[in-house]
């Protein structure tokens, strides 16, 4: 009885394996790897709609060298452990191109796998500088670096806000702590008084001891390096104590959920974000296409993900090969036409001439540029 059951299972799985073999055909698969679940899944959504729109439009225009692009989603939940598992799965699935990952702490370990296996990856969101500083050839990014974003933020704080007592808080993650450190160093270089530099635990909800500390230290400005779930709580709990503290954060806090969590307390939050590419007149048609599908093109990583797919497609089209070794050379030596404008990459794989912009966040989830 047991034996025959085992045989059936074996037979069935053999059938499945045999059945899947004919599916290997000439389409060019692009993996979209990012958090589709978990507490930063919002950013994964931005990535997915941007990348899938690009795939759809490229296919509608005839594909690449006559072949169709196929987007395959992989979920890493922004967890480094799962990112490695996802990377290995991508290798096993025979996918050659990756748009992702999103969180720097996921991109870093996953890129080790991609480098070894010769898989070309373009991250549309990871801003930690060390990702491209390891001499890897297979990793690119269509976003700026914290080492630029941090100083941009810090200069704004020192020159425009001129606070007297600053606290720099971070979530101890690669992204958050990296950017917080960059901000702190630039601020101190400009003679701003950084009174407090402290980490919080990712996933924490209770910040009341920290808020009391801010109050005691008479802090009037807080820079937070991290993501919106924690900053949202911090804003909310600071507002409940009626403290007059101005907050600022990187693009990781800039999405509509922070207004959901913090409510009125999110009004006046300052955020550094990639430029609002969706507001540029030349992208009007693309924005319409997103709106027709009831998708929101204003998310920080929608256009960067779209651009990442475009870069891969144009490189394959231009170099007339899918050999990633040739393609990475091609990407370094050519420029690409994307909704972010015409972009080019430097030796490390970073964008040339990318600047963050500074926005004022509003309680209804909208934002306005500060000049």
């Amino acid at each position: 009885m047991k034996n025959s059951f085992a045989k059936k299972v074996l037979g069935l799985s053999a059938l499945l394996v045999a059945g899947s073999a004919p599916w290997v055909h000439a389409d060019i698969k692009i993996a979209i790897a990012g958090p589709q679940t978990g507490d930063v899944a919002q950013y994964g959504d931005m990535q997915v709609i941007g990348a899938e729109m690009a795939v759809e439009q490229i296919n509608a225009a005839g594909g690449v060298n006559g072949e169709k692009l196929v987007a395959v989603r992989y979920d890493d939940a922004c967890e480094p452990k799962r990112a490695v598992a996802v990377a290995n799965k991508i290798v096993n699935d025979g996918v050659q191109f990756v748009v992702g990952h999103l969180c720097s702490s996921s991109t870093q370990p996953a890129s080790d796998v991609y480098e070894d296996e010769g898989i070309l990856s373009i991250t549309p969101a990871s801003t930690n500088p060390t990702i491209t500083e390891r001499g890897y050839t297979m990793i690119f990014r269509t976003i700026g670096l914290d080492s630029h974003q941090g100083p941009t933020a810090a200069k704004f704080i020192a020159d425009k806000i001129k606070p007297s007592r600053v606290a720099v808080i971070h979530d101890k993650q690669q992204y958050g702590e990296g950017i917080a450190t960059a901000v702190k160093q630039t601020l101190e270089g400009k003679g701003v008084n950084v009174v407090l530099f402290e980490g919080v635990n990712k996933g924490d909800k209770d910040f009341s001891p920290l808020v009391a500390k801010l109050q005691k230290q008479k802090i009037d400005f807080v820079y937070y390096g991290g993501y919106h779930p924690e900053l949202g709580q911090l804003l909310r709990q600071t507002a409940e104590k009626k403290l007059d503290i101005k907050f600022m954060g990187p693009e990781g806090v800039g999405n509509k959920d922070i207004s959901q969590i913090a409510g009125k307390a999110s009004e006046g939050l300052i955020v550094t974000l990639p430029p609002a590419f969706d507001l540029r007149p030349e992208n009007k048609g693309l924005v319409e296409a997103f709106k027709a599908k009831d998708q929101d093109p204003s998310g920080a990583f929608v256009m960067t993900s779209y651009a990442a797919v475009k870069v891969i497609a144009q490189a394959i089209g231009g170099a007339k090969t899918q050999d990633t070794e040739v393609l990475q050379e091609y990407i370094r030596n050519n420029s690409f036409d994307t909704p972010m404008g015409t972009i080019a990459f430097d030796e490390k794989g970073d964008l040339k001439g990318f600047d963050f912009e500074i926005y004022n966040w509003h309680a209804d989830g909208s934002k306005t540029v500060i000049n």
């Binding site: 589709q36 679940t37 899944a41 009341s208 009391a212 500390k213 005691k216 969590i261």
Partner: protein
């Protein structure tokens, strides 16, 4: 000097508030452990479900146009206790009862499975995004000078503390005075013997799970209203903290859970206050290690006598 005192007071208030909720969740662990000698790893998820139900109830009442705060609060509390208790009952029925009498590790593993199942069940049903709700109860008392540093005690913090005390008192009364409570104690002492003497042990154990789940729902409602945010993963870390609190106070002991919860809350807020926020979990789990090393039964726990 005054400022230092007020700062300490403020951190004490913060610690007691968060500790009270740890205590409420810890009760569930402690009761189940006290009676069947097992840790219910799905308990944190019950707490998370409690928060979701409270949010839904509040949103539902807002749609019906109910604005009277006490009714909203009580309605949310009742709805979440009701739904969570049925989940607690179902967890016992599905993950524990069929495995009773087997190796103690087996139900432990099935409870972990239950926890993963509930997490993903809620995630699929409710989406993986954070669900947020604006504060319902705002305002509070201010202690100290208005221009300098002053400690605040919000109404929500008072409610959390009072509800915790009332729940503990009711539970203690139930355990010591009621017929069912006596049956619980009998089962805790010796399950086999209680069974032989005609106590329906299955019913007693199910009741324990239901009570534990109801208290977790109370904590879920309170903390949901306090922080205003929930997602499918909040149960894990809350459960871990509450478990620590239960062990700290002496697992199996109800006053121990309360003491452990509040001590843990105060230890966390004091670490954040005088040291650094990033070390608060290090200190709370370090405390657990120390307690386990030097007093393995916890602060109020009795050394376990091997039953013959």
């Amino acid at each position: 000097m005054l400022e230092a005192g007020l700062y300490f007071l403020q951190q004490l208030i913060n610690g007691i508030t968060i500790g009270s909720t740890y205590a409420l969740i810890a009760i569930g662990y402690t009761m189940v452990y006290g009676i069947i000698g097992m840790i219910n790893f799905a308990h944190g998820e019950i707490y998370m479900i409690g928060t979701y139900v409270a949010f839904m109830a509040i949103a539902g009442m807002a749609m019906l146009g109910i604005e009277f705060l006490p009714i909203i609060f009580l309605g949310a509390l009742l709805a979440s206790m009701l739904v969570s208790s049925s989940f607690g009952w179902a967890v016992e029925r599905i993950a524990y009862r069929p495995l009773r009498g087997g190796n103690r590790l087996i139900p432990l593993i099935s409870a972990i499975g239950m926890s993963i199942f509930l997490q993903n069940y809620v995630r699929l049903g409710q989406g993986s995004r954070d669900i947020a709700m604006s504060s319902q109860i705002t305002g509070g008392f201010s202690i100290g000078p208005t221009d300098g540093f002053h400690a605040t005690l919000s109404y929500m913090q008072i409610i959390i503390f009072v509800v915790m005390l009332v729940s503990m008192a009711l539970l203690t009364l139930f355990i010591s005075k009621s017929r069912m409570g006596r049956a619980c104690r009998a089962v805790a002492q010796d399950l086999k013997m209680a069974n032989l003497l005609g106590i329906d042990t299955n019913r007693v154990i199910a009741t324990t799970f239901v009570i534990g789940a109801a208290l977790a729902a109370v904590a879920g409602t309170l903390l949901g209203m306090y922080y205003g945010v929930v997602n499918a993963y909040v149960g894990f870390i809350a459960g871990l903290k509450a478990f620590t609190a239960a062990v700290l106070g002496g697992i199996g002991s109800i006053p121990g859970a309360m003491l452990g919860g509040i001590l843990l809350g105060i230890a966390e807020s004091m670490t954040a206050a005088y040291f650094s926020t990033e070390y608060k979990d290090v200190v709370s789990f370090g405390l657990l290690v120390l307690i386990l090393l030097f007093k393995p039964t916890g602060i109020l726990g009795k050394p376990e006598v091997e039953k013959i």
